[in-house]
């Protein structure tokens, strides 16, 4: 299985026969086209027999005048080989549901049902997912926003349309329910949690999300790449660098743009700074929720200092707006002065972090709250294809930086630690390892940072490019005034561009702090977005929480929740 190129030769014979067409869209993207009737067999072969895990599943509307046609793609991957298997099939309106066998597909299939009107046949839980029956018309045949014939700004009248059916509550003597949300007591994003309790222990938890569904994928359709880039920063605010990186990776692959060496290093530094910031933030909240205010405030101070450093480096406390197609914007450049400041600050942060870590590990109250709380079994992780540190704390390796190296991660020396303890404490320990690796990776990058014009190819590209908006403008204006292109020129340039193109779609991926981010980007012939599927790791990992809290007491729920610290915004889209 190690060899990418004859991977297809080593598959089972009847699987090979079922594949009607196969080709490599990229070095590591193997596309298998199959008929709808073989879908179940082939997906199960990869998931059950070859132990591949699901990374994403989504539909795309390819309807022409002669009726409805949808492409459904399933993306599988494996931790020991740098290869994505993309299973591609076509349907007119229905497809077989695989949620019973691959539980990770549950939400994906419901999403396809809501947004495209495709019916997953035999789905065990066909309730609406993001188009709430309270707010969206359910009986109208054409309330399927991601279909191409749905007008992008059409809003049905706002009124109450129906009721949502919650799971059956647990019944029995002394069993009671606690309903929480969607508006929470703290400064938290909206989500609804229903606990069934018997005394203190939790018997069942049902979560309901997608309160913040904003329709990002539909808004992006028809937008230029730089317009979509500003959307990518708003998918999940604390992960804006990771999402922009994943989106740009896909766009750069499609347009065949080479990124200068120096920009690769700087992108890595920003990605790691973001990981560091998010990990420190989680660390602080875990302190806070365990009632250890002193440690929490001290860690919040450290977080604030990192954000101030971000502001010094890029002018934005979240490093927004530093990435551009083909490179880095000048506001994000790391010159010698910034390099020295960064080094100095990092060694200071590292020292303070080590003090905090020592304090936490020496505290018995913290240990008692965190150990043996929020168990997530390995089987649950594998079934739900959980990603990132949540998987690594339960003994399943999951780190895109190792499995599918991007940027310069294949040149860097770092470990991706896997623990077997499965509890909140293990997830905290994994964070500690991640924080230490982040410090070491940034130092390595700074030491090896090549000095060259960071935006060389980016600028060359921008000069010929149609998508010359956003942050590039001010910079290019001083050089020449080519950024304002007349309308006809625009189309010409775009067509020219499309002839250089090798492919119309690509996968963009990166490892965010929470886990793998997977973007599928498809451009039309004018280099505008025609389909953009965003998948935040939270979309997989939220489902873990229903299993993690069972048997714990309700007071531990905030700790279990914070130990996974998932994004509502990235999940809801």
């Amino acid at each position: 299985m190690k060899n990418k190129l004859d991977f297809i030769q080593n598959l089972d014979k009847d699987i090979k026969e079922a594949v009607t067409e196969n080709f490599y869209n990229q070095d590591n993207e193997l596309v298998l086209k199959i008929n709808l009737k073989d879908l179940k067999k082939i997906c199960l072969y990869f998931f059950k027999d070859l132990k591949f895990y699901l990374l994403s599943a989504f539909a795309a509307d390819e309807s022409k005048n002669d009726g409805n046609k949808f492409k459904i793609r399933y993306i599988f991957s494996h931790s020991s080989i740098d290869l994505f298997i993309i299973i591609e099939t076509e349907t007119g309106g229905t497809f077989p549901s695989l949620s019973e066998e691959i539980p990770a597909l549950n939400w994906y299939e419901r999403e396809m049902k809501d947004l495209f009107g495709l019916i997953p046949e035999g789905h065990p839980d066909p309730r609406p997912l993001m188009l709430f029956p309270e707010n969206y018309p359910q009986d109208i045949q054409n309330m399927h926003p991601l279909r191409k014939d749905y007008p992008f700004n059409f809003r049905p009248e706002f009124k109450k349309y129906g009721e949502y059916n919650y799971n059956k509550d647990v019944k029995g003597d002394g069993v009671f329910n606690i309903l929480v949300g969607p508006v929470h007591a703290g400064i938290i994003e909206p989500g609804h949690f229903r606990f069934s309790m018997s005394g203190e222990p939790i018997l069942q938890l049902e979560i309901r999300h997608f309160w913040k569904h904003r329709g990002i994928e539909k808004i992006a359709e028809g937008k230029t790449i730089s317009e979509a880039l500003s959307l990518a920063e708003k998918i999940s605010g604390d992960h804006c660098v990771a999402h922009s990186l994943a989106f740009l990776a896909a766009a750069e692959k499609i347009l065949n743009i080479k990124i200068p060496e120096n920009a690769l290093y700087i992108r890595t530094i920003y990605a790691e700074l973001e990981r560091l910031l998010c990990n420190i933030n989680d660390f602080a909240w875990l302190f806070q929720d365990a009632g250890y205010s002193f440690g929490a405030q001290e860690t919040f101070v450290l977080k604030e200092d990192i954000m101030e450093l971000n502001k010094y480096l890029s002018g934005s406390r979240f490093n927004k707006g530093i990435l551009s197609l083909g490179g880095i914007n000048t506001c994000g450049n790391i010159d010698n002065l910034r390099k020295n400041v960064l080094k100095e600050k990092l060694s200071n942060f590292n020292k303070r972090y080590l003090n905090l870590k020592k304090m936490l590990l020496n505290s018995s109250t913290i240990g008692e709250r965190f150990e043996e709380t929020g168990y997530i079994n390995k089987e649950t992780i594998l079934d739900l294809c959980a990603l990132g540190f949540a998987a690594r704390a339960s003994g399943v390796p999951s780190d895109t930086r190792k499995e599918h190296p991007y940027l310069i991660y294949d040149k860097l020396r770092f470990n991706s630690k896997v623990l077997k303890n499965r509890d909140v404490f293990a997830r905290l320990l994994i964070r500690f390892y991640d924080i230490e690796e982040s410090f070491s990776i940034i130092t390595q990058c700074l030491n090896e940072l090549p000095a060259e014009d960071i935006n060389k190819s980016g600028r060359e590209y921008a000069d010929n490019n149609v998508n010359n908006t956003g942050n590039n403008i001010s910079k290019n204006k001083s050089k020449n005034d080519r950024c304002i292109i007349a309308k006809d020129d625009k189309i010409d340039a775009a067509q020219q561009l499309s002839t250089n193109r090798l492919r119309s779609w690509a996968l963009g991926y990166c490892e965010s702090q929470r886990g793998n981010i997977m973007h599928f980007v498809e451009l039309d012939e004018k280099s505008r977005i025609s389909r953009w599927k965003i998948r935040d790791p939270s979309f997989h990992n939220w489902q873990l929480i229903e299993f993690a809290v069972i048997g714990d007491i309700i007071a531990d729920f905030p700790i279990v929740n914070k130990s996974l610290n998932l994004s509502y915004a990235g999940n809801d889209l």
Binding site: E189, H213, I235, F300, K303, E304, N355
Partner: protein, 176 residues
């Protein structure tokens, strides 16, 4: 732990100073007539001066605004020194702080929270999306910005607005 305490005693933490006169006013828009008059006449604010309870609702933000709001409680900004505090229930609140565009699914929850804040109440909208929906304004899944749905008294611009701006906005409107 002693190391940390030692450094803190030695160095301390500098809370950010804010002077009302120095506040950059480009990022703060005040719509409420009463508050505006107060600023013009430099008269004292009758509404709960220096004792404001804030309730936060996220109606469709990307969570960057929330990070900045929760930063207000850290030792650098420490908004409690001015008498502002975050409360857990709308019934206890004087100010409703809303972030993000109005997602269709959140609208009824937002309205319910708003109705439960006792009078006199103020709405502070945080961030560019809150203004008119920002990039999400045309989406099928949103109902525009908070401005379209509730009477907004103060708007703090930025994507996300920095904590110092949020604090400045609150001070400008509700400070002494």
């Amino acid at each position: 732990m002693f190391n940390i305490i030692k450094t803190r005693i030695k160095e301390g933490i500098k809370t950010k100073k804010i002077n009302i006169e120095d506040i950059k006013k480009d990022n703060i828009v005040i719509f409420n007539e009463e508050l505006k008059n107060k600023l013009l006449n430099k008269s004292k604010n009758k509404n709960f001066t220096n004792n404001i309870s804030v309730r936060v609702v996220d109606s469709g933000s990307c969570n960057a605004c929330l990070h900045e709001m929760s930063a207000l409680t850290n030792p650098y900004y420490d908004m409690e020194r001015f008498g502002f505090k975050f409360v857990a229930a709308p019934k206890h609140a004087d100010v409703l702080m809303v972030a993000g565009c109005v997602a269709r699914n959140m609208y009824s929850a937002l309205l319910k929270t708003y109705e439960n804040v006792p009078y006199p109440k103020f709405v502070v909208a945080i961030g560019d999306c809150a203004m008119n929906g920002g990039v999400f304004k045309d989406s099928y899944a949103t109902l525009g910005g908070i401005q379209d749905k509730l009477t907004v008294d103060i708007l703090i611009k930025g994507c996300p607005p920095e904590p110092i701006d949020i604090l400045a906005g609150l001070l400008l409107a509700f400070g002494k």
